[in-house]
Amino acid sequence: MKKFEKLNSTVVPLPIENIDTDQIIPARFLKATTREGFGNNLFRDWRFDSNDQPKADFVMNDPTYQGKILVAGKNFGCGSSREHAAWAIQDYGFDVVVSSFFADIFKGNALNNGVLPITVPEDFLEKIFEKVFENPETAIEVDLENQTIKIAETGESYAFEINPYKKSCLINGYDDIDFILSHKAEIEAFEQNR
């Protein structure tokens, strides 16, 4: 898994609530049997019309807004367990997703792929949207070691939470299988003792 430590980037703002995984990657694109290439179809039906032409009013088609951080409304990633959603976000080039609330399964899938989901309070999220729409060059600084997210221009920051184990996985690029396999004897003992 890719390592993550720090990031300083402009952002793509998507102030919509309850963005579900069917929007992030529609089911008809789940027929691939590899993990690659899903970025092309990220937010497919919001990005492109039925003739595959980019929709001008969608933020990802607006060159004003670019960056490695996606900022979205609350309850991001609700719905299906498809990890393809996390793969699409990563493949498109996002390393961080910021929201005031994440759906459980999406959050786990993102962390398992080196994409950092950061939960911030509603008012901090509003501040980011406000600043970015005022000035699209607004940069956000993410520091995983110190668990902080900062609006560079104003210095306003928030100390986010992350499970210490998951944090060390991201920083070191480890995944859960490496960890669980190191405890195989205990799994077998558990099976014996049932």
């Binding site: 919509i16 039906d45 309850n75 609330f101 184990y165 859960d176």
Partner: protein
Amino acid sequence: MGKTLVEKIWDAHVVKRQEGFPDMLYIDTHLIHEVTSPQAFDGLRKRGLPVFRPQQTVATADHNVPTLNQHLPIQEELSRYQVDMLTKNCKEFGIELYGLGHPYQGIVHVIGPELGITLPGKTMVCGDSHTSTHGAFGAIAFGIGTSQVEQVFATQCLLQQKPKTMKIEVNGELGNGVGAKDIILYIISKISAAGGTGYFVEYAGSAIRSLSMEGRMTICNMSIEMGARGGLIAPDQTTFDYIEGREFAPKGEQWDQALAYWKTLYSDEDAVFDEVLTFDAADIQPMITYGTNPGMGIGITEEIPTTESQPENERPSYQKALDYMGFHDGEGVLGKPVDYVFIGSCTNSRIEDLRQVAAFVKGKQKADNVEVWIVPGSKQVEAQAKQEGIDKVFEEAGFMLREPGCSACLGMNEDKIPAGKYCVSTSNRNFEGRQGPNARTMLVSPLTAAAAAVTGKIVDVRELV
């Protein structure tokens, strides 16, 4: 202090608990299907690992299979390849597969219970969010991503934070024409599509107790639609009667032992839940969704809430949803014309659902303006329906009984609703484009769907039963 049911089952499956780490949770049964498994099998190959406990893994093909002419090769190339990959992977890694053509094939959450694979007290996972369905038997069952599918393949374990617990009680008697689907749509409309996030929900109360296993599965199935990781119901005589004699259920002495254990599976009286919600069954009428998430639901005689009644920062998303659906603030839904009716999905495709629909439509005709697709949850459900003559009832009414699969619930196969069309659906999600690009979904119970099929519009089924 006593334990909740979730805590009892969870704690019995913890292989290792360590400060600062998620619990290492042992998984009894792993269900897999063609869409979320290929990358996990690839991962195993790259690491040079076998499937650790293949005999605790069961596979079927359901998500992208066609629901017509299943005896012929799958026409759509990518779908065929994905289903072929599942066959190849199961063979290579020694996993039992109930693939196309097998008498046990069907939607993964329909076949687990009907084969007696789903049992009280188990931990069960699948790369599908509706795995919560199996909680109806008093099991801890939840959906996982593909990286976790690979973890379970490799270790039969998952690293999981112990969830918070919520009890949702529904007491009293349901009105005529109101069923399990209406209960769960009602609860989600009250607590929102995110109201259960971070929780495992236990459903309780007299209205839940009175439901059949099929009804309980419908309730637990949609736990994920309120954001909950899973939902479960303490097993009782209804549960035991359903399981006894099924293909893989324990038999003889093993049955007696299992039953004794299952009878200990309930929340202790002094157990403390992190959250408790209580609803009155008498308040619930037939439900319908009008928006683009399952929390956007109303009683069928109610009006669509106004944009102004929504929190200010959520108004743009709310308005976007109404625009997508072609609906307006404050209008009612009764009498609105319907283009498609879909009766199927892991929420409502079991034999009881088909029986209920058949009993209602017997002697009636499908409305001319509607196309009706009925997709049984499994080959066993399909065979049972034919044995009972339900297929004939549908045929005479002008409905099409197709072959098993996930079908128009998510439109991965050919069963898509055309752009702009309204589909009254017994499935679980009304997201934008879920049933096909720009399709408009309204979630309802099988009975309300049947009423829409014969009238061609949204009607209050209580007036017809």
